[in-house]
Symmetry: C2
Subunit: 353 residues, 2 copies
């Protein structure tokens, strides 16, 4: 318990020192009415796919596929700051960023209260973006073999507990864990089928993220886990309107020098939580992921880029899980990100004006 | 054009007369900042399903199924009015109620600006509520025959045009149609696979809607099309906290006298648009649907209940499609509903206090 208290205190101190308490609302300030200049939702991308007449709920005709649903909120004076686009990870939806499992404010609203326009995107083939059901209907109709069905990833409780690093083994929590483990049942409800396996390459979500940045005339892209490198993938398609990239807890791919040169023009933040090597077995190896991203950050720096690795335990912030936007200290971490944005992206923007 | 103008004018006059212009914001008033007492999201229902180890993305373990995702916004002083729960129809998500295809304010925000707490629910097995992927994974793994796959309804452009009554045949619009047909491509992007066929009976969305009303200590339930009778289905499971039922464009089922007696205790509004018999062929017969609901309303009245049928063309409001919450006169229709709520539900509540 003593270790936990020190970690929490350090986290608060670090966040408060960096952000300044005036800009970082807490307690009663978070209960003040929220004022929005505007809000709404729309789609980015999408194309028409002609389907032949068939059985099993698939009448012939045109369907729209590969569209990406986006929900946004803009605070008063929101044009003073760049929009932040948040994209969720595997087996999850934009719920990731909203009210936490234990009922605290999500990053979606908190970033708005920190004066940032916020855009939440449901990945193509997930949640309100829908998915291409034609293969499933063809398999049901007997015109396509079952092996053609997508390999759907539907993370169960056991997988989530260990991959999201709530503890060393299912049912056992880390003593200093920041995830609100008493509400883990609410996190389980957020886990929905992931059909990305049936998407074409490049993933339309990447294309749509780049197009969204263009539509917004400049945006900061944030990804998590499965989508952690989506900002980079989007930038490799069209970097023109991507002003910053925030990658949270993902393996970093090996890139060519030309790709690194492209990405090095955009300020980059990578964030990892704690206990990366403390879960044995399972499909994820977070210590390896950190190592690949440390290499990526070094390569971007060597290419003259502005890249920063925030490995939280090295900053004295301990116990963070993979779902760090839902952890008990989630707002402190949000403050770290807002401060990074102001110093590395907005400052650059001001200079250019 | 003259007929259209008269219809629009009449619609505005009816809405303005009933609602009073002070309460019905239009034009610049709708661009004023939106003030919220609070917002967020949560799940209702959900249960654990144990799955055996298998292949195809289905590791053994526990998954959560039948949960319903709910997103809410509460205006300042929102406890003066009953919450309105909006549930979308077939092949759609809660996007139904948000920003219209042509970019106008959706009912979600408009009802908040009319001082109502608003709750948007994604139906169980749809959008952010996720779905049970175990059968698909078992079919892919070869342990279940393809015939066991759900009959997924994925409405294509041709189906939507006629079933949603944008015109008499695909590509031809009604001259007086209220749907913003120039933006129909944006509506197509909202249409996502509907897996309700694999839900158990009673549909968990009904149970969850009744439970949500209880959680809110009283709520008005609104359904549309596929979900048009979900308020009634929820009330037949647990009527205790359902204070009003709003059913938009659906076939009404034949109910027993005992069921009618239960439903007659809750004020009921049914709304239908125009051109019900003007589309030939196709899976929907809206003129028949209206007839079944007229019978339903009469039976409720005969049982001493408070039920009202708003068949819009009979009120001088012409050209409305099936997606009337997205039609050009959508806010006028919202005002009709708000006024009905005040007179038939809130007034009753005040009296009881």
């Amino acid at each position: 318990m003593r270790r936990l208290k020190i970690a929490v205190t350090l986290g608060v101190v670090v966040a408060a020192t960096i952000s300044g308490s005036a800009q970082a609302p807490r307690g009663k300030d978070l209960q003040k009415p929220l004022v929005l200049a505007s809000q709404g939702s729309f789609f980015v991308g999408g194309e028409t796919k002609a389907l032949p007449p068939g059985r099993g709920g698939a009448p012939g005709g045109d369907s729209t596929v590969n569209q990406m649903y986006v929900q946004y909120q803009i605070p008063p004076g929101g044009d003073r700051h760049l929009p932040v686009v948040m994209v969720h990870g595997c087996c999850l939806s934009s719920k990731t960023w909203e009210t936490t499992p234990d009922g605290r404010m999500g990053w979606d609203e908190y970033f708005v209260r920190r004066d940032r326009p916020v855009y939440l995107a449901d990945q193509v083939s997930r949640a309100r973006s829908g998915f291409d059901a034609s293969t499933m209907n063809a398999v049901k109709a007997g015109t396509t073999p079952p092996s053609e069905l997508p390999a759907i990833i539907w993370a169960n409780h056991q997988i989530a507990w260990t991959v999201f690093r709530f503890g060393p083994a299912y049912g056992t929590a880390f003593p200093d864990g920041q995830f609100p483990i008493e509400a883990v049942g609410e996190l389980y409800k957020q886990m929905i089928p992931d059909l990305n396996a049936q998407l074409r390459s490049p993933n339309p979500t990447w294309t749509n993220m780049a197009a969204l940045a263009v539509r917004l005339e400049g945006a900061i892209l944030m990804g998590h886990s499965e989508s952690g490198v989506f900002p980079q993938q989007a930038a490799l398609i069209d970097p023109s309107a991507i002003r910053g990239m925030i990658s949270i807890e993902q393996p970093c791919p090996v890139l060519t020098d030309a790709q690194i040169a492209t990405l090095a023009k955009i300020p980059t933040l990578v964030m990892f939580g704690d206990h990366l090597g403390d879960v044995k077995g399972g499909p994820a190896n977070w210590a390896d992921s950190l190592a690949t991203c440390e290499k990526y950050v070094e390569r971007v720096k060597a290419a003259g880029g502005d890249a920063e690795m925030m490995h939280l335990p090295k900053m004295g912030i301990r116990g963070n899980s993979h779902m760090l936007m839902q952890d008990r200290n989630s707002l402190d971490l949000a403050d770290l990100i807002v401060t990074w944005i102001d110093r590395h992206v907005e400052a650059r923007r001001q200079t250019r004006r």
